[in-house]
Amino acid sequence: MTGAPADMPIPVDWYLYLSAVLFIVGAVGVLTRRNLFIILFSLELMLNAVNINLVGFSRFHENLVGQNFVIFVMAIAAAEAAVGLAIATVLYRNRRTLMVDLFDRMKG
């Protein structure tokens, strides 16, 4: 495995373009969908786009701090998923829907 990829590494720009596209896809999901679950999925997608950036730059600069940081992003993503799903459960128990625009009790 140390042969071809080490000699000709993938350009760091490619990681950035891929990550930008994935991030925008996630942002579109957050902004347009009404279902709370799909919004949580889109958040995970955006966090993954950030991870691609971190790993690409870590390889580019030959430094492992970026890869270590990905572990923390994953920990925060797990915590966010746990709390978000708990909130979704409580909302569904109280309101019998997961469409976010129906949660307008606070007139936001």
């Binding site: 080490a6 993938i10 994935l22 999925f41 701090v65 915590a79």
Partner: protein
């Protein structure tokens, strides 16, 4: 055009299409499966970048644990399918789409004008291979430089776990009084019965 570049393009395109599929499906479970597909492709990209440990963590934690958590909650909530209802915000979806594409164009314009110069931190693939492999070097680096953030992350996970348990716990008494819903959204008799 080396093999790794071709594979990167293939996995990247598949990841993007999986993501687009995930945010456009009506069925939540289909969306979740497409999201898992995207995460597996991202893990493949981590493999190509020689971040082997992170690729495995991506598969185990993201595509495994977190997505199983989502599946469990979807199963517990017993959601009906939202086939007939509108899935997107009627007013804001076109504005959001146009603005997002503008932001993407902005990203591309900025990236096209930038050139990056490698700093060279010393962790070359040869160095990593000589020092016992990527997982060992990664672990040593994590527990030497990032020890305090690591401990803080464990506290964050603990707080999230306790918070999730407290949020979903049902109140012992007086719980029914706080359970209110809009008049237009009365649960069906069967659902209300099931809840008690």
């Amino acid at each position: 055009m080396t093999v790794s570049k071709v594979l990167f393009i293939i996995f990247g395109v598949l990841a993007v299409f999986g993501g687009i599929g995930a945010i456009t499906r009506k069925n939540i479970v289909h969306a979740l499966l497409l999201l898992v597909f995207t995460f597996l492709n991202v893990a493949a990209i981590f493999f190509l970048t020689q971040a082997y440990f992170l690729a495995m963590v991506q598969i185990l934690v993201y595509a495994g644990a977190i997505m199983v958590l989502f599946i469990f909650v979807i199963m517990l909530l017993n959601l009906r399918t939202y086939g007939e209802e509108e899935q997107t915000h009627r007013k804001q979806r076109w504005i959001a789409l146009v603005l997002s594409i503008l932001v993407l164009a902005e990203f591309v314009c900025v990236l096209a004008t930038m050139t990056f110069t490698a700093v060279g931190g010393g962790f070359t693939p040869d160095f990593i291979a000589a020092n016992g492999g990527s997982t060992k070097v990664f672990g040593i680096e994590l527990f030497n430089q990032m020890l305090l953030p690591f401990e803080v992350a464990s506290v964050v996970l603990l707080v999230a776990m306790v918070g999730a348990i407290i949020l979903v716990k049902k109140e012992k008494s007086g719980g029914e009084a706080t359970r209110t819903w809009e008049p237009g959204l009365q649960p069906s008799a069967e659902v209300a019965e099931e809840e008690v």
